[in-house]
């Protein structure tokens, strides 16, 4: 379509959108969910295709576990509810603003990355259903960033750093690192869907990563700290609770 066509539509459409966004206060930013319909269709489909094998594998594993231990389903659903609520909390950020934690880091440390992928997917579905964050067409892309890349990064960093014996440092780094990688992946997803006219994907990535860094880096630090505090508490007062979570976490 011609440039002139857009010049006209920009004036009208842009005006309407700006008016509405000024009229209504913006909501608190959610952890980097690409909103429904934002990705061009080919990319929405692409990310679904990337995610599906992981989901199928997770589903198969789950089927096997729940056949022997049906109560694992309850625990899994409760863990998903817990993760959902965690991600709906407002975490005070170092910069003074508020944002929502992802909750993926704590979950990964408690349940392991493969179970957390299933839980993460459930959480994303309910964030779309109950909070309208994210969406169904972009669920593939969001799930890849948050429920697959995030947990595995957290897990790898945690396993490596745990060997140094500094558990708190390991947890902080794992959670913050997992968060940062999630945000980086989302930026990449946006960059390849929308390459810059001058410079292509790399320039575009730099721009997306730059903008979201403003909220995501402080959030990663806050969530890392929060998780360390929670971990301390669990170890001091809830060792028994961890036992109860065994049916889920033993399947890591």
């Amino acid at each position: 379509m011609s440039v002139r066509y857009y010049r006209r539509v920009v004036a009208v459409g842009g005006g309407v959108l700006v008016f509405f966004s000024l009229l209504l206060s913006p909501s608190v930013s959610y952890a980097m969910h690409i909103s429904e319909g934002f990705l061009p269709v080919q990319w929405a489909v692409f990310w679904w295709l990337v995610t599906i094998p992981f989901l199928v594998a997770g589903y198969r594993a789950l089927q096997k576990i729940t056949k022997d231990q049906p109560e694992v389903k309850l625990l899994l659903a409760l863990a998903a509810a817990f993760g959902f609520l965690l991600s709906a909390l407002k975490i005070p950020s170092v910069t003074g603003s508020c944002s929502h934690p992802t909750g993926i880091g704590l979950g990964t440390i408690l349940f392991g990355p493969s179970v957390m992928s299933i839980i993460g997917f459930l959480i994303l579905v309910f964030q779309a259903l109950l909070l309208a964050h994210g969406g169904l067409t972009t669920l593939g892309a969001n799930a890849f960033a948050m429920a697959i890349a995030g947990p595995w990064t957290t897990y790898v960093i945690y396993k490596i750093l745990k060997r140094t014996g500094k558990e708190k440092v390991a947890i902080f780094a794992a959670v913050a690192g997992g968060n940062l990688l999630t945000y980086l992946i989302t930026s990449i997803q946006l960059a390849i869907a929308f390459p810059a006219s001058g410079g292509g994907i790399m320039v575009s990535l730099a721009k997306f990563a730059g903008i979201f860094a403003l909220t995501q880096i402080p959030l990663s630090i806050s969530e890392g700290l929060l998780t360390v505090l929670v971990w301390n508490w669990i170890n001091a007062y809830a060792a028994e609770d961890l036992e109860k979570l065994k049916p889920l976490s033993q399947n890591r």
Partner: protein, 260 residues
């Protein structure tokens, strides 16, 4: 906590119309929303707003607030699309620009068109999703999923998670309120500490609920699968909305094809 969408859905004025029809309508609109040109996408968005606000009776203030979710994301990421650095060659792409040292920062026409496309599409598709979320209560959605052959394990997990979210949400809100009553969020450090207590207690409470809920299920004969009977809910047979949906959709589809 904000379960507004769910609360609105179970009281919406279209809840007694067959959910299958609404879902098929939405699926068709998802498809159309992707292929329609910009101005028709705007028409779809407006049409859906009529469905949601007028027919389903969702308060317009709340609906507008919901629409800020995709807009907020859209505008933030548009910044990255619209502002560009150093055009490859002096092109038509530059709407206006500014030289800073060796850099030339400019507003890109192509970026604007990309952003506009993405935002408008996002609004259209999001409206379609909102149509489903706001007019089909969760129980009906699950019912249709079962009917359409979704694996039992998946519907079961969705069903359980949904209920548990509400059980734990109440606890969470109460704990946060109780902390505010004792001045828990006066500064960042105390705020983070308070929040860590909520998360920890929530985990503990999750485990406690697990114990009690499994007992309660056992007591009513749980045997590994959560089966329920959803009743025979009679849906409206009125044709008025069906006609509007079909007529409107055909019109939009024809217009889309004509534009291409």
């Amino acid at each position: 906590m904000h379960h507004r969408i769910d609360a609105l859905a179970y009281r919406n004025k279209l809840k007694d119309y067959p959910p299958q029809q609404k879902l098929i309508f939405a699926l068709m609109l998802f498809f159309l929303g992707y292929i329609a040109p910009l101005h028709l996408q705007m028409v779809i968005t407006l049409w859906l707003a009529v469905w949601i606000v007028v027919y389903a009776g969702i308060p317009w203030q709340l609906y507008a607030q919901l629409l800020t979710v995709p807009m907020f994301f859209g505008f933030t990421s548009s910044l990255a699309l619209v502002v560009n650095i150093n055009p490859p060659s002096p092109t038509e792409d530059v709407l206006m620009g500014l030289g800073i040292g060796p850099l030339f920062v400019y507003v890109s026409l192509q970026g604007i068109s990309q952003a506009l496309q993405a935002i408008v599409r996002s609004l259209t598709i999001t409206s379609t999703m909102y149509f489903v979320l706001l007019t089909v209560p969760f129980a009906q959605l699950l019912g249709v999923m079962r009917q359409w052959g979704c694996p039992f394990l998946i519907t079961e997990l969705l069903f359980l998670t949904y209920r548990f979210i509400f059980i734990l949400a109440e606890t969470t809100t109460e704990m946060l309120t109780a902390q505010r009553a004792r001045l828990g969020y006066t500064n960042w450090r105390r705020g983070l500490y308070s929040l860590s207590l909520v998360v920890s207690q929530l985990l503990h409470r999750t485990i406690e609920n697990y114990r009690e809920i499994s007992l309660a299920l056992l007591s009513r004969g749980y045997h590994g699968q959560l089966e329920v009977w959803s009743g025979i809910k009679r849906y409206h047979r009125g044709k008025r909305y069906l006609l509007e949906a079909l007529a409107g959709y055909t019109l939009l589809l024809v217009a889309t094809v004509a534009c291409r």
